[in-house]
Amino acid sequence: MSIEVKNINKTFKSKKTDQLSVLENINLTINDGELICLLGPSGCGKTTLLRLIAGLEQPTSGEIVANGEVVKKPSGDRAVIFQQYSLFPWLTVLQNVTFGLEMTKKGSKAENIAAAERYLTSVGLIDFKDSYPHELSGGMKQRVAIIRSLLNHSPILLMDEPFSAVDMQNRHSLQEQLIGVWKRFENTIVFVTHDVDEAVYLADKIVILDKNPGRIAKIVEVDIERPRKRESPEFIALQESIVQQLNMED
């Protein structure tokens, strides 16, 4: 599913100043099956933009069109993986993972459990299927949350710094797995990060945001062939030019 962000402005009412303008004049087209990274400093409005696309927040002006329809409220078509932990603490890992399937009534109970177990196995969490979230580490929780969204086969995945709580080694392996999933299911993915390396590794297009107010500073196409090698010269060169771009903003 494609996403069109048209002339989006978002201001919040704040106590100190009357109005806090967080996003200004954002225009962005995300094609079906594309993997976009939103990159920018803390507080530049990445989460806000993601929430607008999800329908969890309404723009002050402008509109967002997903699959030909104006986004008015959240839907199972646009799964969100939140920056904070978001598993249901009263459900086991398995029950968490099948939650979306129950809501959308996609398959029979047995089918759903079988699919969930397959997914959990693929990320090495099958032994924890009957554990509760509070028994998992931060990285494990985030992986379960990702599986919960993937299992729902939402055509659009909106991911808000999902791997920031994970150590580097696991992060690299999760990035690789994400690419695998994305190739298999051909989802449209909007991935928020402030890690340049992560953006260059994952994205078709990197959208660099400015701070105060959040504007699109630059859109960088990443033409490096997959699987990408971090030590390749083109990877390093692109990474450096983006770091420079970010430093220029400060």
Partner: protein
């Protein structure tokens, strides 16, 4: 090992000391007549009498029955109402004034009307208990709903849950710990209300037993009644604390 034993016995020291002092100033020094302050032995003798003639058991059951009836009625009203009021802001705005005015009225202030409306017996007592615990349960439930983690609600929505499923599958379970706290507070109030109600408009129960015994100069039985009430409260507290430990979210 030794530490463990020490910790187990520490709570028992004070009660034993108190009973010894009590024994000392009554049977020992005989400072008071046994009507003004019955001695531990008087109490044991009275306890034996009411246990043997079955009065203690029937009155305890009677009181517990009223407590549960009142609490269950209050829960049936307060839990669903609390969930709705916590979830729908306009509904809360609509009711908040009435609730704030009714809530501070002590449950015993309803005794005159409870007698006028329901006469004497079980019903008026259940009504008083209802009035006593409906508000704590309601307020705790409303609070619990409002404290539902926004991220969990939004997660459910983006996983395809409709409003009804968000309420049923997210808001209600996340409110359970608050409801349990509300019930714990409610049951304490219920016990107090029951005894007061039984002393005024009733012909059975521990409150009634205490009052009639005192009128017959049998204050040993009065103390037995008081101790049983205390033990019932302790038992409830234990059960609810266990329940709270089981709930980990």
């Amino acid at each position: 090992m030794l530490e463990n034993y020490k910790n187990k016995f520490i709570p028992l020291i004070l009660p034993i000391v108190l009973i010894l002092i009590w024994h000392g100033i009554t049977d020992g020094l005989e400072l008071f007549s046994s009507y003004i302050l019955p001695s531990p032995m008087d109490v044991v003798n009275s306890a034996w009498v009411v246990i043997e003639n079955g009065k203690l058991l029937t009155n305890t059951i009677d009181t517990l029955y009223k407590v549960f009836a009142g609490l269950i009625c209050a829960s049936i009203v307060a839990i669903p109402a609390g969930i709705l009021l916590g979830w729908y802001k306009t509904l809360e705005d609509l009711c908040t004034f009435v609730i704030s005015v009714l809530r501070p009225i002590p449950p015993v202030a309803w005794i005159p009307f409870s007698i006028l409306w329901f006469g004497i017996g079980t019903f008026p007592a259940v009504f008083i208990i209802f009035m006593g615990c409906v508000f704590p349960i309601l307020v705790y439930t409303i609070d619990g709903v409002k404290r539902t983690d926004k991220v969990l609600v939004e997660s459910a929505q983006t996983l395809g849950a409709n409003d009804w499923n968000v309420l049923k599958r997210v808001v209600v379970p996340s409110t359970v710990p608050y409801i349990v706290s509300g019930l714990k507070v409610g049951i304490g109030i219920a016990l107090m209300c029951t005894i007061s109600a039984e002393m005024i408009g009733s012909s059975s129960g521990l409150g009634y037993m205490i009052l009639t015994a005192t009128n017959l100069f049998d204050t040993g039985t009065t103390v037995v009644g008081m101790i049983v009430i205390g033990l019932i409260g302790l038992a409830f507290d234990f059960v609810f604390s266990r329940a709270q430990d089981k709930i980990f979210w």
